[in-house]
Structure formats: C-alpha cells, structure tokens
Symmetry: C2
C-alpha cells in the first residue's frame, strides 16, 4: 500500500487529495449541527465539491440552510481549494509544463531536487502571506459598510465570508440573491471585484507587477495577462452595456451611472468569480451566450480562477494569426512562444471542449430543461464560475453527479486528469512524414 502510494505521480496525488478533502467536507456538512434542516448526502457532497473547487453552484441556499458551523466548513473548503490549487499549480507547472523530451525532464528534475525546492517553500510562504494580507484589507473595507448597516458582529462576519469567497473566486454568498442588493453600491462592487480580479490574475502576475517598475521588463506571462485582462474586461463592459441597456429586468431599471456599474460587475465576474448583481436568468440570450464564452476562457494560470485560462486562449489566437501571416513562429510582445506550449494550449482547449460537450450531452439526457440553461450551467461548472440560470437547484440525482464531476475536472484541469490516467508512449521510432489535406 505504502509502496503503491509512493508510486503515485503528482497528477494522481493532486486528484486523490482533492477527492479526500471533498469527502471529509461532505461528512462535516452532513453533521446535525451544520444545517438548520436535514440535507441529503448528495447535497452535502455537492456543496462540499462546489466549495472545494471554488465553483459556487449551489443546490441548497447557503445562508438559510447552513448554520454558522456549516458556513465555516464551507469557508475552510474554499480557502483550502483556492490556496491548495495555487500551491499545487506551482508544483504541477514545474512538473507538467515541461513534459517533453528526456533532456528537459532531467533539467526539471534537477531543478526540483536542488535549487528550486528551497524556492518552492519560499514561494508557498509568500503565497499564504499574500492571500491573508489581501483578504484582511478587504475585510476592513467591507466591514466599514456592512458593520453600520447590519450591526458589527454580523457585518464583520459577512465581510470575512465574502472576502474569502471573492479572493478565491468561489462565488459563494450567504445571501440568496448573491450581491444583487448592492448592484449600485460603489464600495462593495469595487472591493469585491478587485478581490476576485487580483485572485484571478494569479499571484505570479501580481508579484511580478509589484516588483517590476517598467512594463517593458515584465515577464511575457505578466504582460499577456495584464493587457489581455484589461482589454477583455473593457470590451465586455461595453458589450454587456449595449446588449442589456434596454432590458427592463436588468439594466433598464438602473440610473445611468448604475448601468455602467452593473455592466462592469457583470463583465468581470464570469472569469470566474461567480457573484452576480443582476438576475442571470433575466439576461438576454445574446448576453448569456457571450457570458458562456467568457466563462469558458476564465482567468489566469496558477490563480484561483478556472476556465481554460486567458493565456491558453490567447496562445491559440496568436498561433492562428501567425499561420495566417505565414510566420514560422508564434510571436507575442516580441517574444517567440515555443511550439510545445502551442501544443499544450491546443490539447487543453480540445480536452476542455470535449468535457463541456460530454457534460451538455449527458445533462440533455437526464434533465428536462431548455438547451441554453444546460449549456450555461455546464460551462459554469467546468469553468468553476458558479453563475446559474437557475437549473442547478432543480437538477436530478444524475444531473447533480454530472455537475460534481464536471466541477472537479474543471478545477483540476482536464490535462491533470489526462496525465493522471495516461502513460508515455514507449516507441521512440521516428516515422517518415506524409501530408494530409485539411479543410
């Protein structure tokens, strides 16, 4: 047993530990004093998985069904899932990111066993310190609003809950309508959105931006993430504003300033915070479809966000631009991107699309619901976003199991699963080349 445990590869470790944590969380949430009314084992499992994968899809109302103990269990799972993934992400990147060629693998092994092991401990320390600091500042800022509003005890508790939930891109709220009550509140929307944007950029990006004074000297990864996030968010604000400004159920009822504020929040939350200040099911179909693409793209690597990641999407786009421009290399910010990374992005995108397709296909078999609702909920689960058109609480038993698996695969990444179950090819034969017609 000990021998076979030792033989687990890092991806296998990651999957196993995650599942164990979810099961422990399930047991705790099923305790009598965790809920105000009895919930099923499946609903406890669903909630535990949703918290641990920082998704935020819910089958029972968090605020009314769970006691303070239950909510603290959820918060712990969120923090564990969010931080754990970030920590593991660092390790996994070092191990998986370079998975080609014996030479490179030897390099990585060396790097891990000698220099980098010290570096990793330092990295993890920084990561914890960074997370706690950001969350603390946010708790103070939120308390200044919520303390006077609902009494300091309840106000500080709400601030802690939403601060941790936001920084980890978890999207859990103790209120049934998420943050809808604060759709026009400047402090709440700004603090919460800054929390999940910083968490979703990834701490390497934040550290790099903090240390480096000139844009020119930033790492390529940081440049892509900062510019990509900024451009995508600004474009999304305008698209949502235009699509929804005349919708009486969403922006139509707000002031001009409130319209922009709500558009901003709804534009940044799908990648992949999952809070909402507008009623998702009332949005236009075109807006919902746009949100689905945002949810699929997601946030940054080694961050608390999900999705295929912004860098993955951009590398695929840059590779296509290079092909069309007949360039021999993929170029970004005057840097070449290795072909191996392009193949990694391609593989990740394909596997992700397959996961979503299978989820949508199966849910169409198990649920009687409009197709758009199923597609929305599937991508929300895969991207660990947590936005919902209202299907999740209505799911059948089979449907809940499908979403649980999708959240898990989405959070750990389909590549992690694929590597956990795949074996390297043994052949080292180099075959002759031959062309095929495409398209």
């Amino acid at each position: 047993m000990r021998g076979s445990l030792r033989r687990l590869t890092p991806p296998q470790w990651l999957v196993s530990l995650f599942i164990i944590a979810i099961l422990i969380g399930t047991g705790l949430l099923k305790l009598d004093f965790a809920t105000t009314e009895p919930i099923s084992w499946l609903d406890a499992l669903f909630t535990s998985a949703s918290a641990m994968t920082v998704t935020g899809l819910i089958v029972v109302d968090t605020g009314s069904v769970f006691t303070l103990f239950g909510e603290i269990v959820i918060l712990f799972l969120i923090q564990l899932g969010g931080l754990g993934i970030m920590t593991f992400a660092v390790l996994i990147f070092l191990l998986l990111g370079k998975k080609i060629g014996l030479k490179e693998r030897l390099l990585v092994k060396q790097a891990l066993n000698q220099n980098a092991l010290g570096g990793i401990v330092l990295l993890v320390k920084r990561l914890f310190f960074f997370s706690i600091t950001v969350e603390m500042i946010a708790v103070i800022l939120l308390s200044l609003t919520w303390g006077p509003e609902m009494g300091w005890g309840q106000g500080i508790y709400a601030s802690i809950f939403h601060s941790i939930s936001a920084f980890n891109n978890a999207g859990f709220s103790i209120w049934g309508d998420s943050l809808s009550a604060y759709v026009q509140h400047p402090v709440i929307t700004v603090v919460i959105s800054f929390l999940f944007i910083i968490g979703g950029l990834g701490f390497t990006v934040v550290f790099d931006s903090w240390k480096t004074k000139e844009f020119h000297h930033l790492s390529l990864h940081t440049k892509i993430m900062l510019v990509g996030t900024l451009v995508l968010n600004i474009v999304s604000v305008f698209i949502i504003f235009i699509l929804e400004m005349n919708n009486p159920s969403t922006l139509g009822q707000l002031s001009d300033f409130g319209k922009w504020q709500a558009s901003y929040f709804q534009a940044v939350t799908p990648r992949t915070a999952g809070f909402n200040t507008l009623s998702i099911s009332e949005l236009e179909h075109s807006t919902l479809f746009y949100l689905i693409t945002l949810m699929f793209i997601g946030g940054g690597s080694a961050s608390t966000a999900g999705g295929i990641k912004l860098t993955t999407a951009l590398i695929i786009i840059l590779a296509t631009v290079s092909f069309l421009k007949e360039r021999e290399y993929v170029v970004a910010f005057e840097r070449n991107i290795r072909m191996h990374l392009v193949m990694r992005a391609l593989s990740l995108a394909l596997l992700s699309i397959m996961v979503v397709i299978i989820t949508v296909f199966l849910l169409n078999l198990t649920e009687r619901a409009p197709f758009l609702d199923i597609l929305f909920e599937s991508v929300s689960a895969f991207g660990t976003v947590g936005l919902s058109m209202g299907l999740t609480p209505e799911l059948s038993v089979a449907g809940k199991w499908i979403i649980i698996v999708t959240m898990l695969v989405g959070k750990l990444g389909p590549l992690t699963f694929a590597f956990a179950f795949s074996k390297p090819a043994k052949d080292v034969v180099r075959y002759p080349g031959e062309d095929v017609f495409t398209g």
Copy 2:
C-alpha cells in the same frame, strides 16, 4: 481595372467568382417563369446561395414554389458549386496547403507552372467524368423505383434531381418532407446515402482506393478518410439508435429493421448531405446536440462536403494524443504529420468556431427562437449541411442575411476568407523565446 483583376490572389478569385455565380443565380430565380408565385429578391438570393454553396437550407418550398425552369436553375447552381469547389479545391490545396517558407512556395510555383499544369487539367477532366458517371448510375437505380411509382417522366426527373443533389451533398429535395416518405425503402436510402458518402469522401480518396489494391499502400490521407469515416458512421448509427429508439415521433413508430435503417440514414446525412428521413425537430435534444457536432466536423477535403473536415478534426485529436503521450511528433498510421499541418488544422478549427459563435450571437439578437434551434441552424449553415429544425423559413430579414453569409464562409472555408483579406507579415526578425503558463 484589368491590372487590379490580374493582381487578385487565388482566394480572392474564388470568393469573387462564387459571389458572381450566386448573383446570376439570384437573377434567374427571380424571373417570372422561375416561380409559381412571386418571391422576394432576398428569398431568391437565399435560394441561390443555398444551392451554390450546396447547403440545402430553404426559405421557400422547392417543389411547390419553383417551376421546372427554377428547379433546373437550382440544379445547375448545385452542380456548379459542387464541382467548382472540388476543382478549385485542388488548385487551392496546391497553393494554400504549402503556404510556409519561401523555399516551399517557390517549389509550388514551379510545380504549378511546369509539371503540374498538365496534371491539373487531367485531374479536372477525371473529376468531371467521375461525377457524371456516378450520377448517371444513380439516376438509373433510382428511376427503377420512382419510374413505376410516379410515371417514368416524373420518376426520371426526380431521379436526376435527387442524384445531383445527393452526390454534391446539396440536400435539396423537390419534396417538402425531404425523403421522409422513403424512411424504410432500402433502395432509395442506400443509393442516396452512397451518393453523398462517395461525394463527401472526396474524389482523391475514391481514385486512390480504386487504383490501390492493398490498404497498406494507400496514401495517409486516404487511410485516415476511410477508417475515420467508417468508425464515425458506425458509432453514430448506434448512438442515434439508442437515443431515439423509444421516441414515438421518430424511430418508435418503425419496425426493428426500419429503426436500424433510419438510424443509419440519420447518422450519415449530417456530414454534410442534409437529406432527412426523420423529422429533425422531433428528435431528442441529446440527439440534436450530437448531430451538431457531426455537422461541424463534416466530410472530406476536396469533396462536395462541408464542415471543418474529418482530417482536420482527427489531426487535432492526434496532436492532443501525441502531447499526452509525450511524443515529439504527431503520428498517424506510422507516419509523421508535419507541424505546419497541425497549425493549419488548429487555425481552421479556431476560425470555424469563431464563425459559428458570431453567427449564433447575431441570430440571438435578430431572432426570437429557442437557443438550440439557433445553434442547430447556425452549424447547419456553416457546415453547408441543410438540416433544419424549422427556423430557416421563419427567419427575419437580418437573419436571412446572416445565414447567407455563414453558408458562403462555410463553403469556401474560413481560411480562404482569412487569406483573401490577410497580408503576409513583413518582419523576418526572429525574437527570443519566452514561456507562458497555460491552463
């Protein structure tokens, strides 16, 4: 003017000629004696574009609205579009397929100007001969059923119409319910399906299979197409059978043998023939979603079929398998596939997904229809399939324009459009490499 015409690149030529042919077709279909009742210019344009792109989506019923003259115009457009694309495809492949590096381009130019020009003329001759022969044989076989059934004059005419429509994967029928009346008729379903499968494999595959005795000696392209088509078709028959066997509106009403026959026909027609023997709008949501993926994949390169093409889909899958197996090269049937082809497949898939996303997004703005109907019709137009859940005849004016553009882009291929409007990058700088985190 003559100078600027001469400066058109092959992709620009292709797009221009296609649009001119569609406009001439529009004028002919708008003539008084082409229709039994007046139709709008837009409906004439839609029908002409649908025929020329061999899609088969219709806004007016072909059999009742068009006169014999109108139907013959449609047949001519189908044959022109089907053959024209195949002929052009040969030229385009030679020009585009190798679009990297100056050395290779010089090689291709040389090949085109000297040796290959004779080869191309021969190829085109064979292509015409092949098409006419296959269509003639089918006309005879179909007439033997339809002649006695509806009188020889009408029977032979119906045979010619459906033979040309099927071989060119056009999906046009002179009957409002397509081939639904023949759902359990063995000769009709077999002859029609063989026509569009052969047309959809591409004539290079058929020629290669004809000439080569042993599987081992076939070209890699032919191997992939034959095995891929066979596997995908067989899997699809079983999936459709299982999903629909208890649906009283589709398979439920048929005999056991009829169930298999209808499953077979519905499994092979989405790539991208577009005939139907079952009522599409009555299919289960899961079946419809499966058909959408089949329609997106499509048939073979240099064939009458549309979609991203089977080879494109398989190369992307093989590239992912290679990445997961930590192989340095993409391998199929003991042959290496060049990285340039992988990049081509990746670019084509991304551009295709973008075209579908934009079409779906715009139709959600212009139409009041369920999301699944819009998605189905969009992919059907992009893949030039012609299957319909019933949305097309109900489209708004804007919606018709959107579908017209999508059919055109789908038939000529998004890469053709991208190359028609793109210019090669002028820089020859080789930038330093830098890595980015993905996923």
